[in-house]
C-alpha cells in the first residue's frame, strides 16, 4: 500500500513535469517576447530587448524552463505581467472562492444524482425513470452557458427570486454567507454534472441489482429499503467515485463558464481575463494547478475505491 502510494506519487511528479514542459513551451511559442507584452506596443525595440535581457527572457527556452522549474520548487509561480503582483498571491486570493463553488456544485450534483440514479434503476422503465432520462438527455444537450442564461431569464429576470450576478464577496465562504446570490451559479454548475452522474449511477445500480447477492439478501427476508441501503448503495457508488476522479478537467471547465457567466471572481474568471490581457505567468500557473488537481483527483479516487472495495489490490 505505502509502496503503491509512493510509486503513484513518483509517476504523478513525472506527469506534472510533462505538463509543465508542454505548457511552458507552448506559451513560449505563443509569446516569445514578454517585454513586448509588458511594455506595450509603443515601447521601443531597444527597451523591449533590455527588459527581456534583464529578466532573462533572451536565454534559450531550455534554460528558461529549467529556471522556471527551479522557481516552482521554491513554490514561486512568478510575477504577473499586468497586475504587479506575485502569481501565487493572486491565485491564493481567488482559489478559495473557486474551490467553494466547485465543491458546492459537486456536492449538490452527487446529492441529487446518487438517489436519482438508484431510484431510476429500481423503478426501471417506469414513468419516473423515463421522464428523468428524457430530462437528462435534454439537459445534457444544452450548452451549460445557455442553461445558466435560461435560469437567469426565468428566476432572476422574470420571477426576481435570485440575483443574476454571483456574490462578489471576498470571503471564500460565499456559498454560506450569500446563499441567494450563489443559488443560480451552483445550480448551473451542478446541472451539467447531474445528468452525467445520474445516468452513470443508474446503469451502475442496474448492474448491481442483477448480481446474485441482491437476490440472496432478498432471500434473507430483508425489506427492499434495507437491501438498497445496506447492500446496493456502496457497491453502486464505486464506479461513480472513479468517474468523478477522471472528470476533474470537465469540472474545471464548468467553473470557467459559470464564473464567466455570473461574473464570479474566481480562478476561472482570472484565467479568462489573463487570457485577454496576455498575462502569461498567470495562465501558466493556473494550467499547472489544473494538472495537479486532475492528477490528484485520479489518485484520490483510486485510493477511495480501493479502500471501499477490498477486491482491488493496489499494486503495479
Amino acid at each position: 500500500m505505502a509502496r503503491y502510494v509512493l510509486r503513484r506519487l513518483v509517476v504523478s511528479a513525472f506527469v506534472l513535469l510533462g505538463i509543465s514542459a508542454a505548457v511552458f513551451f507552448m506559451l513560449h511559442l505563443v509569446s516569445e517576447s514578454p517585454g513586448r507584452v509588458v511594455l506595450g506596443q509603443r515601447a521601443s525595440p531597444e527597451a523591449v530587448a533590455a527588459f527581456n535581457r534583464e529578466h532573462g527572457f533572451d536565454r534559450s527556452v531550455i534554460t528558461q524552463y529549467l529556471a522556471y522549474l527551479g522557481q516552482l520548487l521554491r513554490l514561486d509561480l512568478g510575477r504577473s505581467y499586468k497586475l504587479n503582483e506575485d502569481v501565487a498571491t493572486l491565485l491564493a486570493q481567488y482559489a478559495g472562492r473557486s474551490a467553494m463553488l466547485s465543491l458546492a456544485g459537486l456536492v449538490v450534483a452527487l446529492a441529487v444524482a446518487i438517489p436519482l440514479g438508484i431510484l431510476q434503476a429500481v423503478r426501471r422503465n417506469s414513468l419516473v425513470d423515463r421522464a428523468t432520462t428524457a430530462v437528462s438527455y435534454v439537459l445534457y444537450a444544452t450548452p451549460s452557458f445557455l442553461l445558466g442564461l435560461l435560469l437567469i431569464a426565468i428566476f432572476s429576470q422574470a420571477l426576481g427570486l435570485f440575483p443574476a450576478e454571483a456574490s462578489q464577496s471576498h470571503s471564500p465562504w460565499v456559498v454560506f454567507t450569500d446563499p441567494w446570490a450563489m443559488a443560480l451559479p451552483v445550480t448551473t454548475l451542478a446541472a451539467g454534472s447531474i445528468t452525467v452522474f445520474a445516468q452513470y449511477q443508474r446503469s451502475s445500480a442496474l448492474d448491481q441489482l442483477g448480481q446474485d447477492y441482491i437476490r440472496v439478501a432478498r432471500a434473507k427476508g430483508l425489506p427492499e429499503r434495507l437491501i438498497l441501503l445496506r447492500h446496493l448503495l456502496r457497491n453502486a457508488c464505486l464506479p461513480l467515485i472513479t468517474l468523478v476522479g477522471t472528470l476533474v478537467p470537465t469540472l474545471l471547465a464548468g467553473n470557467l463558464i459559470v464564473e464567466s457567466l455570473f461574473n464570479y471572481p474566481g480562478l476561472g474568471l482570472l484565467f479568462l481575463n489573463s487570457l485577454h490581457r496576455e498575462d502569461y505567468p498567470v495562465l501558466l500557473a493556473y494550467t499547472l494547478i489544473g494538472g495537479v488537481l486532475t492528477v490528484a483527483g485520479n489518485f484520490v479516487a483510486d485510493l477511495l475505491v480501493a479502500a471501499a472495495d477490498r477486491r482491488i489490490e493496489l499494486r503495479k
Binding site: F14, V15, G18, I19, A22, V23, M26, L27, V30, S31, Y137, V138, Y140, A141, T142, P143, S144, F145, L146, L149, A153, Q157, T246, P249, L252, A253, L256, I257, S260, F271, L272, L275, H276, E278, L283, Y286, T287, G290, G291, T294, V295, N298
Partner: protein, 272 residues
C-alpha cells in the same frame, strides 16, 4: 431499428436537421455576406421569419449556414478523433505486453492534461477556422476512443470464435479483417456518434468564452454566444432558435448513439 423507436426518432431528427442546413438555403436563399445595418436586430416579422441579427443578417438563413459549419466541425473532429483513437487503441490491444502498457500509460498521462486551457491559450493567439478548430478538438478527444477500442480489441482477441479462426490457420490480418473489425465496428460507430455531439457542445462553449470561429464565419456556438450578449436587450430571437438547434442536434445524436449501443451490446437478444 423498428425495435428502437428512440433511435428512429433520433435518426429522423438528424436527417431533418441536416436537410434544413444543407438543402434549406436552396429553398430559402439569403444574403449572409453583406452587412445590412438598416435591417439590424429586427424582430421576427414579414420578410424575416426569425428576425435579423445585429449585423442585419437574416436569422433563419444564418441558422442554416451556421448549422453547416457546426455539423461539419463536429463530424470532422469526431472522425479525426476516432481514426486516431481506433488505430492507437487497436495497436495497443493487438500488440499487448510492454507496448500496450506503455501506450496506455501515455494515454493516462495525456488525460491528466487540462486540454481546455491549452485550447483556449492557443485560440487566443491563433485565429481558428473550422478545420483547425475541428482538429484541435479531435486532438483532445481521441484518448477516450483509444481506451475504448483497446478494451474492445482485448476482449475480442480472446473470444473463442477468434481462437477458432486461428486454429483453422487464419492469418493475423485475416483475423483482424474478418473477425475483429466487424465485431468492433459497432462500438466505433457509437463512439463517432457520441463524439460528434460532444464536439458541437465544445465548439459552442469555446464560442461563448469568446474563442470560437471569428466573424464573419459563424457556427451555431458563436451565434448563440453573440446572441446571449443581447439577451438583456430582449433580442430573444437571437438566442432561442439557435439554442434550440444545438439542443435538438445533440439530443438526436445522443439518442441515436445510445440506441445503437443498446442494439450492439446484446446481439443475441434480437431473438423473437
Amino acid at each position: 431499428m423498428r425495435r428502437h423507436p428512440l433511435a428512429l426518432a433520433g435518426g429522423v431528427l438528424l436527417v431533418l436537421i441536416a436537410g434544413f442546413c444543407f438543402l434549406g438555403p436552396l429553398v430559402y436563399p439569403t444574403n449572409q455576406t453583406d452587412v445590412d445595418l438598416v435591417n439590424a436586430a429586427l424582430p421576427p416579422g414579414p420578410g424575416f421569419p426569425l428576425g435579423t441579427d445585429t449585423n442585419g443578417f437574416d436569422v433563419l438563413g444564418r441558422l442554416m449556414a451556421g448549422g453547416q459549419v457546426s455539423l461539419q466541425i463536429g463530424l470532422l473532429a469526431a472522425l479525426f478523433a476516432t481514426t486516431i483513437g481506433t488505430i492507437y487503441g487497436a495497436v495497443a490491444g493487438l500488440a499487448g505486453g510492454v507496448v500496450d502498457a506503455f501506450l496506455m500509460r501515455l494515454v493516462d498521462v495525456m488525460l491528466s492534461i487540462p486540454f481546455l486551457f491549452f485550447v483556449l491559450i492557443l485560440s487566443a493567439r491563433f485565429h481558428a477556422n473550422a478545420v483547425t478548430l475541428a482538429l484541435v478538438i479531435g486532438c483532445f478527444s481521441w484518448l477516450l476512443s483509444a481506451r475504448l477500442v483497446r478494451g474492445e480489441v482485448l476482449t475480442l482477441r480472446v473470444r473463442e470464435f477468434v481462437l477458432a479462426a486461428k486454429v483453422m490457420g487464419a492469418s493475423r490480418s485475416r483475423v483482424i479483417l474478418t473477425h475483429l473489425i466487424p465485431n468492433a465496428l459497432g462500438v466505433i460507430i457509437v463512439n463517432v456518434t457520441f463524439q460528434v455531439a460532444d464536439a458541437i457542445l465544445v465548439v459552442s462553449a469555446l464560442g461563448f468564452l469568446g474563442f470560437g470561429l471569428t466573424y464573419p464565419a459563424a457556427d451555431w456556438g458563436s451565434q448563440l454566444a453573440s446572441g446571449v450578449t443581447y439577451i438583456s436587450a430582449d433580442y430573444w430571437w437571437l438566442v432561442y432558435p439557435v439554442g434550440g438547434c444545438i439542443i435538438l442536434t445533440v439530443l438526436a445524436l445522443n439518442l441515436l448513439a445510445d440506441a445503437l449501443r443498446d442494439a450492439i451490446g446484446r446481439p443475441t437478444s434480437v431473438r423473437s
